[in-house]
């Protein structure tokens, strides 16, 4: 491995060279943009523009231009729709919001970001680049040495770099020299209750963003929790700590699972106003789509679900209130927050609007900052709520988070009972082709039919979850791998025999499945990994089959990289 400083120097040189080329690339983009505003408009021109924007999106972040990549990605999405629509009229309706986005692109091109400075914006939180070659540094402050050791080991297993402290003395000093991404701390330390928290907050006082603080405690009473909030804690876990929940929270506060930008749909018939709102929100890092024709809303929702809909109340074709009712008619859109925007300041009328299914009412004219805050806060909560809701909205099965939780529960249950159980990963074959050929509504019906079949064939004691997209996860309680294989194979043949219909024409769909069983695999993580590998094998072998992992895969414990 080369000398790091030489490497950094070379990377810096590459960044500078990339930065030097950017103005030329942006000029070219600007030229295409201007041509498109004239009689020379053509779909090919948009495609050429799209290619250049796509290239910027895919390279910017590599050379330190994170915002450039984000902005380019947002422009790319609009351009793709324009290419799909192929109409100059559609292009004109979008060019109002594209203009400021392209301006923002130019601006982002003049602001490179150095490695260690965190970007922060309300629309999307991005953490500082983690040091140590990609591993996140966590401080663990726990005076019980056995517990500290076991927790550190588990955290490292999940890819974190852990520095352990048994008290609060060395803490403040360490914090100033090497900043961790988060601190996990026992509330009670030898120096006293909340001693650690005080030390951290003092050392942290100068920083713009306080370091995330996660408390662990054996107390579960209200007083303790209140004190934790007052001490600035971001989370609170009661001992014995559920390590998976802790990891999930750590991933979130350290932004390891990079959250997607909030997707906002603006329905406003005044194009100037629409593009102004779009600018304010997209500058903050949100992904904004604007509709100046409200009746297109159902199409837009079917294409991609936004995190929030910002809707004008008074529009020519269809009032915001009617539109809200239309949206709420569908169960799957019940949870999307709808925020009305209107010059209506009559409270009664505002309440009436809220009754139609809106969540908030903002009065025009509205200050940019206030619009941004209202939208961010609501979008953030909506996301959180949706992820916590136990059920997947389309199928009524357990959602991703819940089925993973259930797996851990079943693992400890079966360990106690000393019984075997099987975890199954199911993936519909060629599902993208179903969506492409027959549309998403038919695709959804196929998903629903598989979930119904699974519910019919499996027992009450089994758990069925929709893992995501066209993937399902099943936990067959008290069931060995042989019985599980027979059962899944039976379900596989039944599913393949179903005649799904699209516009009267029948078609069939198959699935592949991978099985892993406990105690052959002895942890939830291993079950997950092995079943996934078996599923991959089933696909590789030609799909429409069930593959059971025969024996446990050896994990390379001595070879821990991140």
């Amino acid at each position: 491995m080369a000398d790091t400083s030489e490497l950094q120097a070379r990377l810096r040189a590459l960044r500078e060279s990339y930065a030097a080329d950017l103005p030329g690339k942006l000029d070219e983009i600007h030229r295409y943009w201007q041509q498109l505003a004239t009689a020379q408009w053509s779909v090919e021109l948009i495609e050429a523009l799209h290619l250049r924007i796509h290239t910027l999106a895919g390279s910017g972040g590599t050379f330190g231009f994170n915002r450039l990549s984000e902005q380019a990605r947002a422009v790319e999405r609009v351009l793709k729709r324009c290419i799909e629509e192929k109409s100059q009229e559609f292009w004109d309706s979008q060019s109002g919001c594209l203009a400021p986005m392209l301006a923002a692109l130019s601006q982002a091109a003049s602001e490179p970001v150095a490695e260690t400075i965190p970007l922060s914006s309300k629309g999307k939180a991005v953490a500082a680049k983690p040091p140590s070659g990609g591993r996140c540094l966590i401080y663990l402050v726990e005076d019980n040495t056995t517990l500290a050791e076991s927790m550190a080991l588990q955290l490292e297993h999940f890819g974190y770099l852990v520095r352990t402290f048994h008290g609060s003395e060395a803490l403040a000093q360490a914090l100033t020299s090497e900043r961790p991404m988060a601190v996990v701390m026992d509330i009670v330390l030898p120096q006293g209750v909340m001693a650690g928290a005080k030390a951290i907050r003092e050392a942290d006082a100068e920083e713009a963003e306080p370091v995330p603080l996660i408390f662990i405690s054996s107390r579960n009473d209200l007083q303790a929790r209140l004190e934790a909030i007052r001490a600035g804690g971001d989370a609170y876990f009661v001992k014995p700590v559920d390590i998976h929940a802790l990891i999930a929270r750590l991933d979130k506060v350290t932004e390891r699972t990079q959250p997607e930008a909030y997707r906002i749909l603006i329905v406003e018939d005044d194009a100037t106003l629409a593009s102004h709102y779009a600018l304010v929100l997209s500058e903050a890092g949100m992904d904004v789509e604007t509709l100046t024709r409200p009746l297109e809303i159902m199409e837009s929702l079917a294409r991609s679900t936004p995190d929030l809909i910002l809707m004008d109340v008074y529009m020519p074709d269809c009032s915001g209130l009617e539109l809200a009712k239309l949206v709420r008619q569908q169960d799957s859109y019940l949870s999307i927050p709808i925020v009305f925007l209107s010059s209506e300041d009559n409270l009664d009328k505002q309440f009436r609007a809220l009754r139609t299914g809106g969540d908030d009412f903002l009065t025009k004219p509205i200050a940019d900052e206030y619009l941004l805050s209202s939208v961010s806060i609501r979008a953030e909560r909506a996301r959180l709520i949706r992820s916590l809701m136990a059920q997947d909205s389309l199928t009524g099965l357990l959602n991703h988070a819940k089925i993973k939780e259930q797996l851990v529960i079943e693992e400890s249950r079966h360990r106690r009972m000393q019984a075997a159980f099987t975890f199954v990963m199911i993936d519909i074959d060629h599902f993208k082709a179903v969506n492409d050929n027959y549309g998403h509504m038919t695709g959804d019906r196929v998903i629903k039919s598989l979930s119904r079949l699974l519910q019919q064939r499996l027992r009450k004691s089994d758990s069925i979850g929709r893992y995501g997209g066209e993937e399902f996860a099943v936990i067959l309680a008290d069931c060995d791998v042989a019985a599980a294989t027979r059962l899944l194979d039976d379900i596989r043949t039944s599913f393949a025999a179903i005649a799904h219909r699209h516009e009267g024409e029948p078609f069939s769909v198959t699935f592949s499945a991978g099985l892993a069983s406990f105690p052959l695999c002895d942890s939830a993580a291993e079950l997950n990994r092995v079943a996934d590998e078996a599923l991959y094998e089933a696909k590789r072998l030609g799909r429409n089959r069930v593959v059971a992992a025969a024996e446990p895969r050896q994990q390379q414990r001595g070879n821990r990289k991140s």
Binding site: A2, L7, L11, G58, G61, T62, F63, G133, G469, E533
Partner: protein
Amino acid sequence: MKALSKILYVEDEPDIQTVARLALETVGGFSVHICSSGQEALDTVTAFAPDLIMLDVMMPGMDGPSTLAALRELPETAAVPVIFMTAKVQPPEVAHYKELGALDVIPKPFDPMTLSEQVLAAWKKIQNG
């Protein structure tokens, strides 16, 4: 476990080519051959005999998926694992690429300091067991 040593990297953008070489050769210690197009990759792959192939998805001419399909037709490269480089990393999209036969998908823009780690992690997935 078979060691990963030779990587064929297919990417049309010169800037990315340079930084990818830096990331994989200097940081990762791999031996890297870079091609600017799917066609060039097909012409040189047999001679280079890589352990792993990394393909940009959106390239002019032959795109990533077409290049993969062509590689699968050649007996020498039919079984060489392929990683796609793309911005499309939503689970359904990743599943789609895997269905096409890719081992894994690495998001663009990539971080040059961690690219080698990501590649090695994907490599280990197929080596285990």
